[in-house]
Subunit: 363 residues, 5 copies
Amino acid sequence: MARHRHLRRKRRHIAGTPPGTLVADPQAPAPSIRMIGYGPAEIREWETCTVAQVQAERDKWTVLWVDISGLGDATLIGEIGGIFALHGLALEDVLNVHQRPKTEIFDDHVFIVLRSLLPGPGLDTEQVSLFVGERFVLTFQERANDRLEHIRVRIRQAQGRVRRLGPDYLAYRCIDTFVDAYFPVLEAYGEMLEELEDDVVAKPDPGHVKRLHGVKRDLLLLRRVIWPTREMLNALIRDETPHIAHQTRIFLRDVYDHAVHLMDFVETYREVASGLLDVYLSSLSTRMNEIMKVLTMIATLFIPLSFLTGLWGMNFDQGSPWNQPELRLHFGYPLALGLMACVAATLIWFFRRKGWIGGKDRD
Amino acid sequence: MARHRHLRRKRRHIAGTPPGTLVADPQAPAPSIRMIGYGPAEIREWETCTVAQVQAERDKWTVLWVDISGLGDATLIGEIGGIFALHGLALEDVLNVHQRPKTEIFDDHVFIVLRSLLPGPGLDTEQVSLFVGERFVLTFQERANDRLEHIRVRIRQAQGRVRRLGPDYLAYRCIDTFVDAYFPVLEAYGEMLEELEDDVVAKPDPGHVKRLHGVKRDLLLLRRVIWPTREMLNALIRDETPHIAHQTRIFLRDVYDHAVHLMDFVETYREVASGLLDVYLSSLSTRMNEIMKVLTMIATLFIPLSFLTGLWGMNFDQGSPWNQPELRLHFGYPLALGLMACVAATLIWFFRRKGWIGGKDRD
Amino acid sequence: MARHRHLRRKRRHIAGTPPGTLVADPQAPAPSIRMIGYGPAEIREWETCTVAQVQAERDKWTVLWVDISGLGDATLIGEIGGIFALHGLALEDVLNVHQRPKTEIFDDHVFIVLRSLLPGPGLDTEQVSLFVGERFVLTFQERANDRLEHIRVRIRQAQGRVRRLGPDYLAYRCIDTFVDAYFPVLEAYGEMLEELEDDVVAKPDPGHVKRLHGVKRDLLLLRRVIWPTREMLNALIRDETPHIAHQTRIFLRDVYDHAVHLMDFVETYREVASGLLDVYLSSLSTRMNEIMKVLTMIATLFIPLSFLTGLWGMNFDQGSPWNQPELRLHFGYPLALGLMACVAATLIWFFRRKGWIGGKDRD
Amino acid sequence: MARHRHLRRKRRHIAGTPPGTLVADPQAPAPSIRMIGYGPAEIREWETCTVAQVQAERDKWTVLWVDISGLGDATLIGEIGGIFALHGLALEDVLNVHQRPKTEIFDDHVFIVLRSLLPGPGLDTEQVSLFVGERFVLTFQERANDRLEHIRVRIRQAQGRVRRLGPDYLAYRCIDTFVDAYFPVLEAYGEMLEELEDDVVAKPDPGHVKRLHGVKRDLLLLRRVIWPTREMLNALIRDETPHIAHQTRIFLRDVYDHAVHLMDFVETYREVASGLLDVYLSSLSTRMNEIMKVLTMIATLFIPLSFLTGLWGMNFDQGSPWNQPELRLHFGYPLALGLMACVAATLIWFFRRKGWIGGKDRD
Amino acid sequence: MARHRHLRRKRRHIAGTPPGTLVADPQAPAPSIRMIGYGPAEIREWETCTVAQVQAERDKWTVLWVDISGLGDATLIGEIGGIFALHGLALEDVLNVHQRPKTEIFDDHVFIVLRSLLPGPGLDTEQVSLFVGERFVLTFQERANDRLEHIRVRIRQAQGRVRRLGPDYLAYRCIDTFVDAYFPVLEAYGEMLEELEDDVVAKPDPGHVKRLHGVKRDLLLLRRVIWPTREMLNALIRDETPHIAHQTRIFLRDVYDHAVHLMDFVETYREVASGLLDVYLSSLSTRMNEIMKVLTMIATLFIPLSFLTGLWGMNFDQGSPWNQPELRLHFGYPLALGLMACVAATLIWFFRRKGWIGGKDRD
């Protein structure tokens, strides 16, 4: 199952490797670099470019956005790191794609790690690393995709604030895109829980427990991503770094509110799922109770009657007047039937008094 | 069911839309504007007014209260925002009516989001947005209603503090109105729990579990509204903004106490509901125990006796003296009955010793 | 039941009433005022006095203690509030007797709300409101009673610190009296739990669950009072108000320790009660297990034997040599009995191997 | 049971007694005073001494250690308090021996309350009160004992730091002694839990639940002592009092680590105990399941067969060719047996398919 | 079992021993000392060396790394402590190898305690103690091993930062090595849980509970090590000590992130394990339900039919026309069979209506 990958997210870091050593995952795709340089007035875009071009454009633009997709080449990523003077540990974290979301403030830049949900049924996430410096934004993604395309469109169209404001605003737009992508997923879980709720209340079924367990487990995994995302945003808003302008902090507070809202969903859904398990178990107990009641009623009613039929089915020698004289009575059989009816009536009266018959407490 | 809407509260925000873009919900009713301008001495009221009128009255009054009901027109709301220089993100939150309660302090105004309970059986809430500036209060509500009418009455009658004090006091009166409206709802849950408590203790029934689950779920939803309301009030009291006077903070502390009281109710009720589920389950187990005891007693009593009747109902050839000689005894039948009575008496003695008969531990 | 009143403690505050409006509960008893003025050297006492007398004695004494019992007269209480310049919201809280314990620091006085346990079986509490100002202490109680009499006795006898120290020390003595009154109640719950513990371990009974639920619920209610009492005391010790002398804070720390101790009791008892519920349920399961074992043993032993008796009770035509030849054997019956004994012995051996017979794992 | 005393630890404080009143427990033993005065160079020891001697030696030594065992004489303890200018509330706490561990910093001295475990099967504790002043240490114990003898030995032998350092170091040594005494007790619970773990996993038994409940309860009581001990040590390290030297704080941090370690044990053991209860209950359910399976198999196998024997045991008039013609068949009986064998085989096949037979999921 | 040692980790500290007394465990291996002195330019290594050599090289190198394996000689360790002026309490903790991970900041050095996982099936850990001073690093390990060999290799090869930076960086490399060694262990638990998850969902088995209990218990033990490791790293980053350079703190923040990641794994796994226990128990209940349903159906179907066969197997005197006239009917037997078929059909219809037959809610 897809979700298995989440529980034991293997770290490729080999114990003993010195820190800051860049080792690319051999299975990772080769990097391709997209670059946009822009300012309020001018803009230039490179669909694919080389490290040399990046080096050349460095410091020429108000904002230089270098978007690297694919992490399969440690040397190239090291070179990019050299151009922008990125910290070695941060670069190592870019390649080691199993980081928790976090913010790290360095003197020259801010390093942000995010997890972006992949489309598909599993809850697979991809690591997105952002560097925000004085005049640049670097984004590292594991695979090429068009999730940030809508921002590029706005930059090209010179619409809105993005052209007027600095790299921190661009970074905010990227973070906002990745965080908001969690909403439809959580809404899908909300819908699933509502359906389960209707089903469990209407007709509990063992399949529900497995689905509930699956939902709880997935929510656990989502919490493991959303919680540190919230912390990451909080650190970004709170920390005193010159790379995030006061104005941008107001926008980041808005993303922070979204992350809080997401956590809210996750926690509420987890509690609803736990509550549903209780409903399932108690309705199972209730049904067991009812089944037992039926069995007990039938058994308790017929066992004494069967004893009586057995009694009069015995073959004692009819020669002795002491042996089963009732069998020789003229009205023996009707009397026997009457006695059985009396026993049955008594037992039914007893069941009624116990509240086992009468519909009131059946479901 | 009405309450389903709560679990997955859809956000209409389309990923990729730049922040601060105002998009109205096409199904939202068209806005209507009510306005009151007042000071200690004078007052003027407009039942419905235009954006131009709002613009004209701006800064003419000690307090200008603009109350907009209906959020169906993004342009109009944008124009109002322009008149009072409201922040773009705040205006976006006004239209996107699925915010959690929060306070945001801007330089020129304070932005407050509240959730107001709608009348009716479900726990539907509506978003109320408040802006408090130097000389104005703006209230945005989703639908026209008369919940704030009692404040207008007091303003007209020039009674109490509301005419003497500034916009912050007016905002406090609005917040107080919405927060206090949660009390009767929580009291209704309190009553429901008390009835359930009496019922569950007296006669547990599977319907109780569903009702308990419903109550727990509703309390979860209420907590999701009340908890951030408390935080919102706390931020309002604590934050150093010139728009909230020291004197008003004392009043807000009172609303804060109410919110704490509400949370207190919610948490206590949740614990009582959980406790009742335990009582239900344990009483189910107890009844199962008793049912099983009855079944076991009857079965254990009659199964050996039935075996005996079966034994003497066998058709072994009576020609051989070794075959069932007891059937040919003169007192065979009375002896057999006596033996059965002995077996039954022994078993009943055994049940008594086990404590299964004797009333002591029946419920 | 008495305790029902606690779960939904109705607030009489009508939404829409402007804050600070004094409305007395029509069922509250009429107020009676007792007053003591004292200093290190002189003392004067008024058993019942009028508002005018209170006005006259204001500021004449080192400590003026006005003790109002009964809150049925909003005008009178408003007048008293006027004499001592009490804050309107605080006065409203005095009349609205469903406040949580709290401390509010105003410029001129400290306002303290406490809850005092009423004697009787239920956990009914009454609100006690204290105002501590520079030269006065006001105590408002819902009903006349002699709980503070012992302090008056000490004042009259000029014993101890109370005559030498200021109004804050007198307030401390009052708070201490009300907090310490919770100890015997909690000790009673401790005793109840110990008895329940012995009972549940010795002989679990369905009545125990109801009693445990009752104890847990009562402890929940006590926690709802004691927790904010602790917070109230903490605020009193911590807040920088000139109305509480440093020396008195040491005494208040002692009351705070008592409140911590009370919370400690409540939490421990709640955990013990939860543990007892587990013991109850597991002993129920154990007994069910044993009952099922007996039923299964008896049924499993006799059902195959009964099948054999049924087999040889069939009426196949004895004319054919193939039909039930065993019935015609000379030693058929003894052989049949022997076979049954073998079956029974085998089954008993099987039960022993399973560990169902042998006493070891019976309780 | 010994442990009962813990749950409801009676406070002797009579409500209404003014604070600081010294009332000795009439059952407490009479105090005996031991005193050692020492400095780096000189030492003098008094095995039993009078209050007058204590008064006389006050201020003559670098460290004067007065060790009072037995709290039965309020006057004597009041006099000692007078000599060292102890705070009245602290002295009251010395006599009222049901305090939680705590530190109180007064201007002239530090007051420390500890609880010392008594030897024996119950978890009875005794209160130890310490006062640390500029040149003295006072220790108050409920009963005479030799727990601090090893410190006296070191003082006499002039070994180690104790003779060189001040009263704070002596106090540290006392505290260390009492805290370390909890380790063997917790290790005993660890051993008990390990044994229980082996037993519960191997062969669950109802007695285990009672033992687990006992262990959980005892750990609850231990936590109630150890948690405030940790807090007490934390306060002692953190608070800015001149009576604890910086150097001694390093030693106290070591005791604090021990207390943290103890809490760690308590919490781990509590979780292990809860886990064992789950194991017990699930193994009970598993056994119930197995018992039910055996019963169901036997009953389901033989009930249909018995029905057939009953069928052919009926006494319909054999004169009619329609009445039970099978009984008159030449091979009726073998055919009947064959039919029964088929039914039994079908049922056994059904059980196998259900997975009820086959050993795999038996325990 | 190996893991038993963890629950009750015996402390060897004898109560009464004065603090700072060095007592070696008599079973600990004799110490062997390895030493490397290095600076950016020069390096010298001693495979085994004496205390005198350590003394001689003190202060000659930029970094002097003394690695002591084996703690069996208290004198030797005391001498080393003397050379580097280590604090007595810290040295005592080095020998008393049951410390929790912690950081202690002394004036002259930083003392760090870590726990290193031993290879093998149990979760045995060994204590590693580090001292970081101005020009030295001391590492104390319980047994000789090659876990730090890879660092020595880098020092010899003069690669990376280790030769250029100070003792704090070396200490960071050691800590990083020990912390990262927990990852493979946790991944193994992740794999185990995934397997268990598949198994429990597919086919619950009593053995699963024991394995789940084992996993939860082991995770509890891991948490007991990892949690204080996290705290230790936090203290190291936060504390203002000159012995840890600002640059190294960035690296330590990376290790701290790893420790947070480890805690994350532990907590997620614990919740998954708890969830699986719920799945197990609910599937047990479901199976019990199904078993009971089968039993009840069979019993309820055949018990009334058997009663009828018993009825017509009675031996009432056929002479009387009132006695069992149905037995004498020409079509008595077919009619009886028909009646039985009707009863059976009715019962089956009843079961269907109850939802007990029809496959839908079987698993």
